[in-house]
């Protein structure tokens, strides 16, 4: 039985529909990440699960029970907010124990719980501070501790790391991953940061424009994106897109565009055949291009190198191909000449084709 199920979930504000029938099932003990650009409906979905937003249509099931009409407190869940949402007038211990105190648990039990949780997130020495006296990272930990103390079956995270600086964010992300392994609960995590999504998720749900674009493990989504949006959204640097046409040349299908003529892999022949002569978009990740001057003409792109961005072990080459921009990831130890036209071999398993109209994968 799935722990959480969304059934044709719809959200309207007045006449504007922002979520168009979301169907989603989350298995028990799964870490699900809802990811997408601002305004895609991911936070709204999460807030509807939490009970902070009304459901316009559809139903939410937690453990098989419909919960649409239940108050947040009846849904047995804990939530970590983007701005932490700590109670400014209570010290850390009071913040963590608020839910338990409302439940009138025995004092000894509350104290023990606060101690345990504070130790788990490294807050023991700050229990008597008020939130205003803590740094951003520490406040984040308090928010986490408060959620943990509740012992709920379901954890909701609403962009919990987006107010932290880059270094701290990386550190908290690692701690969060560790924590999720340790506590073994259902977690739903909303973020616009695809790196957070990729590193934390058991299952990623990519949302855009109020629809689910695709869901699956991080690897599935990275390797087999269902459409151009997902392909472009996941992965850094992002996937390159080149307009082209599918042409049949002597029995072999080729993607033909400005400045390239790429032979397409035979295993996709059937699907590609149907698009013969149609406008498509070719997608190639920067990591699927390698500098190789001896590569065959029909399995490589000729790119004019413009700029090299040094990142560390890797560099990103900004190149140009028939007026379109193409990024290539190269090993920084093997630099290439800038300002010249070079040949880059294309990894045949890294070729993605998208229908230009529907943007669906071919």
């Amino acid at each position: 039985m799935p722990a959480i199920q969304l059934e044709k979930l719809v959200k309207r504000y007045g006449n504007v529909e922002v979520l168009h029938g979301i169907d989603l099932q989350m298995a028990d003990h799964e870490f699900t990440v809802l990811v997408g650009p601002s305004g895609c409906g991911k936070s709204t979905t999460l807030r509807m699960i939490a009970g902070l937003e009304d459901v316009s249509d559809g139903e939410i099931y937690i453990d098989g029970k419909p919960v649409k009409h239940l108050e947040p407190k009846a849904r047995d869940l804990a939530m970590v907010f983007q701005d932490y949402a700590l109670y400014p007038h209570m010290n850390v211990a009071k913040n963590i124990s608020f839910a338990l105190r409302l439940q009138r648990r025995p004092k000894a039990e509350i104290d023990a719980k606060v101690r345990d949780v504070a130790e788990m997130v490294g807050l023991t020495e700050f229990l008597h501070r008020k939130p205003g006296e803590l740094s951003g990272g520490q406040r984040q930990r308090v928010a986490m501790a408060r959620a943990l103390a509740k012992d709920s079956a379901l954890f909701l995270f609403d962009e919990p790391l987006s107010n932290l600086d880059a270094k701290l964010r990386g550190q908290m992300r690692a701690e969060l991953a560790l924590m999720s392994q340790r506590v073994q609960k259902n977690m739903i995590y909303v973020t616009h940061d695809q790196i957070e999504a990729m590193t934390l998720a058991d299952r990623i749900v990519v949302m855009h424009g109020g629809y689910i674009q695709q869901q699956g493990t991080p690897e599935e989504l990275f390797k087999r994106p269902a459409n151009k949006f997902v392909a472009g959204f996941l992965g850094t640097p992002p996937m390159n897109f080149l307009d082209c046409e599918v042409v049949d040349e002597g029995g072999a299908m080729h993607a033909v565009g400005k400045g390239f003529r790429l032979r397409l892999p035979a295993d996709k022949a059937a699907a590609i055949n149907a698009h013969s002569g149609r406008d498509v978009t070719l997608g190639i990740r920067p990591s699927d291009l390698t500098f190789d001057a001896d590569a065959a003409r029909d399995s490589a792109l000729n790119l004019r190198t413009v700029v090299s961005e040094y990142i560390g072990a890797q560099s990103v080459l900004l190149c140009e191909c028939g007026g379109a921009k193409v990024m290539v990831e190269i090993n920084s130890e093997k630099p290439v000449a800038l300002g010249s036209e070079l040949r880059f071999a294309v990894n045949p398993t890294g070729i993605h084709l998208f229908d230009r109209q529907t943007e669906a994968v071919i």
Binding site: L52, F81, E133, Q138
Partner: protein, 301 residues
């Protein structure tokens, strides 16, 4: 050039300072000076005899003054207590998106905008023993009439003041409520707080700084109230509604004892000064705490 720059702010402040000196400090000094004299309106202040602290001491032994002070304190206490409870309660109830809310809010703050004399007249008519709205309604319902401005004068005056000034607390409390962090309230809902518990554990504590300052402001105002009561009861019957401001004005005009009136004003001034200082100290203490908190947070970064 440098000196000019340093003096610039004082130059800009000079006109205001001058007006303050003429309109505030001069009469204040005059009053303090006059309070040490046995002075009636037919004399210039120079002709009046210097009597030292006699006016202050006499007042302290004067049962009428004490009665008046007691009335003032009772009035201020009840008025501010009820206004705070009702104002904050209304704000808590109306802090939501209901259709026509903005109209309702405007209606709520109307009483505050009516001139005090008009308020006094209006309530005097409504309290009228035979033709007033209240007694006619009570009569119509078959209940007995109430002697509003007679036996229950202080209560009636307090009701009128509550009607006029609750809106002040209401709008400030509403503003405080609407600036509360929304997500903290949402977190409280998820933590399992009922509506009451949210009010008690989250909303009220977070509104407290605003409420304390608002309450002190109202208290200061309540000590100075004059027109409404003057119009409604003229301090009567007997001394039952004679608040200090009224007694001061009567002492000066009816009893023709300017020195005593000045001494009485000074007592009131000291009382208000104490309240103002309390309010000032409270905001200073809050700012200091905020600074300390910030400093502590920065230390840990």
């Amino acid at each position: 050039m440098k000196t000019a720059n340093r003096l610039t702010p004082y130059m800009f402040m000079a006109p205001a300072a001058l007006i303050m000196a003429i309109a505030l400090l001069y009469p204040l000094g005059y009053m303090v000076w006059g309070s040490f004299r046995d002075w009636n309106p037919s004399q210039t202040i120079g002709e009046a005899e210097f009597v030292g602290l006699k006016n202050y001491i006499t007042l302290w032994g004067d049962p009428n003054f004490r009665e008046s002070l007691g009335v003032t304190l009772r009035f201020a206490f009840f008025v501010v207590t009820f206004e705070m409870v009702i104002g904050v309660g209304l704000a808590l109830l109306l802090d939501r998106n209901i259709r026509g809310m903005s109209v309702l809010r405007t209606l709520f703050i109307l009483p505050m905008m009516i001139a005090p004399v008009v308020v006094g007249l209006m309530w005097r008519y409504m309290y009228h023993p035979t033709v007033g709205t209240f007694n006619r309604t009570l009569d119509g319902l078959g209940l007995g009439k109430i002697d509003w401005l007679g036996q229950h004068a202080l209560t009636s005056v307090i009701i009128a003041d509550i009607w006029q000034w609750t809106p002040f607390i209401f709008i400030l409390a509403l503003a405080a409520l609407q600036s509360l962090p929304r997500s903290a309230l949402e977190a409280a809902r998820i933590d399992g707080a009922t509506a009451w518990q949210q009010v008690w554990h989250i909303k009220l504590p977070l509104m407290m700084p605003v409420l304390i300052v608002t309450g002190l402001l109202r208290l200061i105002d309540a000590f100075k109230v004059l027109e409404v009561i003057l119009v409604m009861t003229e301090g009567g019957p007997g001394l039952s509604t004679e608040i200090l401001a009224l007694r001061i004005s009567r002492t000066a005009t009816e009893f023709r004892e300017l020195g005593v009136a000045a001494a009485m004003s000074n007592y009131l001034l000291i009382l208000l000064l104490g309240l103002t200082l309390a309010m000032f100290a409270f905001t200073r203490w809050q700012e200091a705490r905020a600074r300390r908190v910030r400093a502590a947070a920065e230390e840990d970064l």
